[in-house]
């Protein structure tokens, strides 16, 4: 064989892996969700507290990086790295799509979908919060869900939230909604008991 430095290359590969993971995490909003590793088996089933059962199918995602021998001799390290960066983004896209599909399916099944035409209004925001359960932290603050959307929609939603905060009437309405949600949360928590 020709002279080589396999141990150094292994170390470099670890850096490459870490870089890919970082790019992947930045490219999907779901990287912030908690991850659970299924160590065995080929099927996952879930039974909720209300007794409803769901089977979650495992999905296989993959992406390829093809670099020919000629390319390997001509491409710079940065150019090779860019190919791997692209693969990480592609992987993130696939996983994001799967996650959204699963979310949409679950939301539609329980009837929690809020539909609107054009851009959402303050009313749509209220309708959205009405449909979901909201938990509260130890200090009594609501743990509001993360909103996922594109840049344009994000700007619009931020404007709507500013509007809710600045307008005394809608602000009061929002505060009342949160008071009601807190009561519902207390009821839920109070029902976590052993009876009989």
């Amino acid at each position: 064989m020709l002279p080589d430095f396999p141990h150094l290359k292994t170390k470099l590969s670890k850096f490459l892996d870490a870089r890919m993971k970082s790019i992947h995490n930045r490219a999907t909003p779901f990287s912030r969700a908690s991850a659970v590793c299924i160590q065995e088996g080929n099927c996952t089933k879930m039974i909720r507290a209300d007794g409803t059962e769901e089977t979650i199918e495992m999905k296989h995602h993959h992406t390829e990086v093809r670099i020919s021998d000629e390319e390997l001799e001509t491409l710079s390290s940065e150019e090779i790295q860019r190919k791997f960066d692209e693969a990480a983004r592609e992987m993130a896209n696939q996983m994001t799509q799967t996650c959204f599909e699963s979310l949409n399916k679950a939301i539609s099944e329980v009837g929690n979908a809020v539909r609107y035409t054009g851009m959402p209004t303050v009313e749509d925001i209220f309708r959205m919060y009405e449909t979901i359960d909201i938990d509260f932290d130890e200090c009594g603050k609501p743990e509001l869900p993360t909103l996922m959307c594109g840049r344009k929609m994000m700007e619009h939603l931020q404007a709507l939230h500013t509007q809710i905060e600045s307008d005394p009437e809608t602000n009061k309405r929002f505060a009342n909604l949160m008071i009601r949600k807190k009561e519902e949360w207390r009821d839920r928590e109070a029902s976590r008991r052993l009876v009989g």
Partner: protein
Amino acid sequence: MIERLVAGWLANATERSFQAPFCHTLTSKGMTVLHLTRHGEMEIGKDVIAVDRQGTPYAYQLKTPSGPRITMSEWRNGIASQVHDLVTTAVVHPSLPKTKPHRSFLVTNKGIDESVIRAIGDMNRRWEDAGQSYLKLETIVGGELLRDAIDLGTNLWPSELSQSRDILELFLQDGTGPLQTAKLCGLLQSTLQLDVGSRPSQSSCHQRFSSAGLLTAIAESEHARQQYHVAQIEAWTLYCCHVLAVAERWSLSKSVWMPAISVAKSTIWSLLEDLVAELRERKNMIEGDPINDNLFRRGRITRLVGFVSLFALWKRADGGIGENDEFAKEFCGKHRGSLWLWGEAAVPLLLAFYWFWRKVDATPSIDSLLSMLISGICEANGHQCPPDNALPNPYYSESEVLAARLGISDEPIEEDFRKHSYTLESIVHLFARLNWKMQMTTLWPSITHVWFNRFEPAAKWQFFLWRAAEGTHWDVAPRYPKQWSELRAEAEECNGNSVPEVVRNDPILLALILCVCPHRLTADVARWLDTQLADL
């Protein structure tokens, strides 16, 4: 390469470490091993007693000389008198006829000096001249053992390059560190052809069990050299798991698999005795580099308390409550305050302690262990707990968890363990069985924040695999509000539907398997074991 590896192992083995593979070789030749001991309390001079198909008893004395051969001085200083007892005292065993003379063998993994061979010849001649030709000492030396090992064992080992490398790595591993369980299991699975879909013949099973036995002995040889008994116990328990997997999968007759399990269980039993003997001698629980030992001591103590408890339970199952039981009580009582729930993999060890302690302490004090485990898991894995404090699930070993906690792991754990537990449901059911309704009522709200996880293999035989490719991972939310009567009914159920048939007569072995493979603990298995062990 494999032949040289076996030769190297045999040359460095002690009479203790080659005893188990020697017995497996005997079983693969169609003999039944009736008894093996390392202490010779019952059978004077006889380490192994076996019987062939014709009913002839065989008695073996195993010896490892300090040099390459048994010398005249070693012969005179002990071996001669031991083999004299071996040959002249009758083999007493309920399975053997009292009248039939036995054949006697001096077995060594090395060689025998010519002068000693002459002395053996003279001894045999004297008996013959005295009209006692049935008294005779035969020998088995290292070369014959090696040939048997290669003929009966290694040709069935996996031959792929990667797995040959695994065998070599296991042989060369540092015997002071933890056992490389995943590697050993991969090799055992290949050797026993658990990936192949055709039913093996009876003779093939014997051969494969023997081959896997030799593989296990080689994998744990460095631990044997270091007298790291816990790692050796784990290795032989994993061997049992894989033999039981074959037996369960093909519904084999007990006569096919039981000899291999008996040998392995006797080996584990002897190792537990050795462990207890070491603990009796020890002044403290410090091991290895003492400077950093305090970070690892409580985990070590938890493991030791679990194994000592199992040993005491095993002794009770065999009908013997003696000084070992007293020692177990003293040891576990002394270290009770140091037990540590470092991860969910520690739960079976703590349950072993619970099952033992309720036998020796009639007060309800041990019940608090269960309530403390429940609150400990709920506190660590609750929805509002910091993710770094959550207890890793039972798929993570002690070394992985400790490395992550200390921030020195090569691959940091990225999984979020909050809101899930693989062991909580088991403990909840055991605690509900004790009828502590008020305490459970207080605990229930926090229990409902943690989902019960369990894995259900697609087939029962896969219960014994380190990782099963087929099966269902369950994620179950505790119901609320929950009726106490409903919880009690669930907790009292003890059919053990998920317990494989081949282990239903051996709850102690199942408890041991759980300590080595903690991810196999489910509420169903825990309830069944709780009932079985209560009846001991």
